[in-house]
């Protein structure tokens, strides 16, 4: 079997102005044609924020997100299309599936940020994805300690010493995790503010790149830290 390659595809921003598949009148991103009231397919170019009727911001009120999701679920869910034509049923099924993915992605702040970074890709493609050298060193060393602890006698003097060290490391890493979450939150706010100002000058562009770059960095470091913390929790409880 072939290694499947992950699906790429450009995720465009602008909402497609198009024609109603049924009566050919013009629709501009509405879910139902104004003339014939038929459900319209969510365009492939529609991003998850637009799909849920939200601005492309990183700080989202979970209650608002949920309300939007429920409202659109009532509009799209296949349960309400059983008496409709086959074409409408197929659209409802696709729309509901897209809506569910959109909600799942935006509900989680990290997935939301990852998704936004994907959307804004291009300017940030060159961002390195390997952890910074110091973090890398630290993780490697910790892995060695973990291996030594796992292989050795837990009740021996060495075992107790290793355990104490791992516990200290775990505490430090968890603090680091919390710091990352905090910084991410700050970056979210900064990003949203920048978007709200809507400036398009050189300074704004530089600021935009800086924020995206920093978020990418934190997100990938966060994954490394998270994995090693999981390992630690599994081993020493």
């Amino acid at each position: 079997m072939n290694q499947p390659t992950p699906s790429g595809g450009s995720r465009n921003v602008q909402m497609a102005r198009s024609m109603c598949w049924h009566c050919q009148s013009e629709v501009a991103g509405e879910y139902f044609c104004e003339r014939c009231v038929k459900v319209q397919p969510v365009s492939k170019e529609t991003d998850y924020f637009t799909c849920l009727g939200l601005p492309r911001r990183l700080t989202i009120d979970p209650a608002v997100l949920e309300a939007k999701y429920y409202e659109r679920s009532r509009a799209f869910h296949p349960d309400f299309y059983l008496n409709k034509t086959e074409a409408e049923q197929a659209i409802s099924l696709d729309n509901a599936a897209t809506l569910n993915t959109a909600y799942r992605t935006l509900r989680d702040p990290v997935q939301r940020a990852e998704y936004l970074l994907d959307l804004e890709a291009g300017s940030v493609k060159t961002i390195r994805t390997s952890p910074p050298a110091d973090l890398f060193e630290e993780i490697l060393e910790l892995q060695d300690t973990l291996d030594a602890y796992r292989a050795g006698d837990h009740s021996s003097e060495t075992g107790r010493r290793l355990r104490a060290r791992l516990e200290a490391e775990r505490g430090a890493l968890e603090r680091r995790q919390a710091e990352m979450e905090d910084e991410l939150q700050k970056l979210f706010v900064e990003w949203d503010a920048l978007q709200d100002r809507g400036e398009a000058d050189g300074h704004a562009r530089m600021e935009r790149d800086r924020l995206l770059r920093r978020m990418r960095e934190i997100l990938s470091n966060r994954t490394y830290v998270k994995n090693i913390v999981n390992d630690l929790v599994e081993t020493i409880g």
Partner: protein, 606 residues
């Protein structure tokens, strides 16, 4: 839109329900009972389903099928461990279990279809209309093959299955409709053969499933077996007798174990009695509730790990659960209630009838689908992760478990060799790392135009619909052309096989209907003949000779038609007799009226 009924196709019992002006109701049979035992017997005099079939468990155990749900969507290898418990012969063909009865083989969907047909008939008799559409419930933890098998069963029974709905979520619909609660609930559904736990958020008419977990091979059946095994051992050591060699006695033992279990939910001790073969008397034994509880504690314990996993997947702890709803007959056991209460730290809700609540919920969902109920919406999840096999036999996950359905995932495929014309895709379901440890759902070969390696780009879309059933489509990204895919299910009936079974079932259905009509006509003719004979003897003297003669002639004509197989002839002769005998009945009526008046006069005088 035609009426849609809701069906709970259970391991032990099945029910059918409908929506009556906004209130779901279970449809009773002629005897007033709502539950149809999920038992099918192939007797010499034809097929029996339900209570009548249950009587045959002892008389002809090798031709009486129960707990068929445990075999739905399974291969023989899947159920190897419990074959000894079933008295009928099982084989396998094309990855599907077959049951040998009276020299014919049946697949589990065909047996389930017989139960569904009985429910369909019951609903038709009660509602006095044809029923062709249904919502059928399945355990939440059923995989794709098991769901598909259930859908096939519906088709074979002549039902369009508009939705396969999960049992705990169905229960939550009935619960939500009745209790009007908002908040987070846990539905603990412990039935005859399966266990499910679902965590739901109820808010403004939306029933959002946050996580589900379970075990499709854990239920009351296992508790009965534990009791039966205990008695089996005791009989073996006391009488040097292996009851396992006597299928009818094994069935009696199993049923006695089930009854004792049920009694021990209300009583603290009970007596079990088993007749021994070859006139060796009977074995009796007292069983206390405490003994039962220590005997099956580990079975109940096995339901708790899925509860913890579901909570974890939902990102919740027990403090977040506002209400625990109990569903399924096995939740009547005090030990189950205690353990659930201990785990969740609150008294479980058991105001609903645990046997009926799933069918009632299915009726609610049916009403939503037919457009009757518009303020409620169920957002369910897929219980198992869906993926494909990749290099090195590893499963690559496409749609993780507990993803809200409908859900889709797209994957791009290409070739690794020049001129390669196909890519094999193996679809899996499960939570394990390695492909071989997960459930194989299907395999198919993607057709690729012969091009240099890496040039073709085929986008495959995996869509799990609102029934939790997978659909696969492929699109050549270079030409934009859609490609039809023939997916070969690993553990299911092929489409042609299902079609053949539907045809067969229609043939049988016609025969069934015809023979039922004949039986009814004969019965009606019989009662008309008896009534006419009575009239003739009581009032023959009141009518002229020619009327009497004509009636006698019509009676013998009907009597001979009744011996034949022609329903129309019987009905025609009946109409003729009624017509001919009219003067006789009029005369009798007049006579009795007169007598009545005379009697009155007489009494007035005295």
């Amino acid at each position: 839109m035609a009426r849609i009924v809701g069906i709970d196709l259970g391991t032990t019992n099945s029910l059918v329900a409908y929506m009556d002006k906004g209130v779901p109701r279970v449809i009773p049979g002629a005897d007033g009972r709502t539950m149809v035992p999920s038992v099918v017997a192939m007797t010499d005099h034809g097929l029996l389903v339900g209570d009548e079939a249950k009587d045959h468990l002892l008389r002809s155990p090798d031709r009486t099928v129960y707990s068929i749900k445990r075999f739905m969507g399974k291969s023989l290898a899947d159920v190897q461990g419990e074959l000894a418990y079933f008295p009928y012969t099982l084989t396998e063909q094309g990855g599907v279990i077959r049951i040998k009865l009276n020299g014919k083989t049946y697949s589990p969907p065909q047996i389930s279809a017989m139960i569904l047909k009985e429910l369909k008939r019951r609903a038709e008799a009660y509602l006095e209309e044809d029923i062709t559409k249904a919502v059928i419930t399945v355990p939440a933890y059923f995989n794709d093959s098991q769901r598909q098998a259930t859908k096939d069963a519906g088709l074979i029974a002549g039902l369009e299955v508009l939705r396969i709905i999960n049992e705990p979520t169905a229960a939550s619909l009935a619960y939500g409709l009745q209790e009007k609660t908002q908040g987070t609930i846990a539905v603990y559904d412990f039935g005859g053969g399966t266990f499910d736990i679902s965590i739901l958020k109820l808010k403004q008419g939306i029933f959002e499933v946050l996580a589900t977990n379970g075990d499709t091979h854990l239920g009351g059946d296992d508790i009965d077996r534990r009791i039966a095994d205990l008695l089996l051992d005791e009989i073996r050591s006391a009488y040097d007798l292996d009851l396992g060699l006597y299928p009818d006695h094994m069935q009696a033992l199993r049923l006695e174990a089930e009854r004792a279990k049920i009694r021990l939910s209300d009583e603290l001790k009970t007596l079990l009695t088993v007749e021994l073969p070859d006139g060796r008397g009977r074995f009796t034994r007292e069983l206390t509730r405490d003994q039962l509880e220590s005997l099956v504690a580990d079975i109940i314990e096995r339901t708790l790990a899925p509860c913890r996993s579901a909570l974890k997947d939902a990102g919740l702890t027990t403090e977040h659960i506002d209400e625990v709803v109990l569903v399924g007959g096995s939740t009547r056991m005090p030990l189950v209630r205690r353990r659930v209460q201990e785990l969740f730290g609150k008294q479980p809700h058991c105001h609903l009838n645990p046997d009926e609540v799933v069918a009632l919920g299915a009726a609610v969902q049916a009403d939503i689908l037919s457009g009757g109920t518009t303020d409620m919406l169920l957002l369910d999840v897929t219980p198992l992760s869906l993926g494909i096999e990749t290099m090195g036999g590893v499963m690559s996950c496409l749609i993780p478990r507990n993803t809200t359905i409908p859900a889709n995932a797209k994957e791009m495929f290409t070739t690794y060799a020049d001129g390669q014309t196909g890519v094999d895709i193996h679809i899996l379901q499960g939570e394990r790392e390695l492909a071989k440890d997960n459930r194989s759902l299907a395999r198919f070969r993607l057709k690729v135009p012969p091009l240099p390696a890496g040039v073709p780009r085929i986008e495959v879309t995996f869509l799990i619909d609102a029934n939790g059933i997978l659909h696969v489509t492929a699109k050549d990204m270079r030409t934009g052309r859609q490609q039809s895919i023939e997916v070969k299910p690993s553990y299911g009936l092929s489409e042609t096989e299902v079609e053949r079974m539907i045809e067969e079932s229609f043939k049988f259905a016609k025969e069934d209907v015809a023979s039922r009509k004949l039986i009814e006509a004969r019965l009606d003719a019989g009662s008309l003949l008896t009534a006419t004979e009575k009239s003739l003897s009581e009032g023959g003297h009141l009518v002229p000779d020619d009327v009497r003669t004509a009636v006698r002639a019509a009676v013998s004509a009907l009597a001979s038609a009744k011996e034949g197989d022609d329903v129309r002839a019987i009905r025609t002769r009946m109409a003729e007799l009624e017509q001919t005998a009219k003067p006789l009945s009029v005369a009798l009526m007049d006579d009795s009226l007169k007598r009545g008046l005379e009697g009155k006069k007489l009494s007035d005088v005295t």
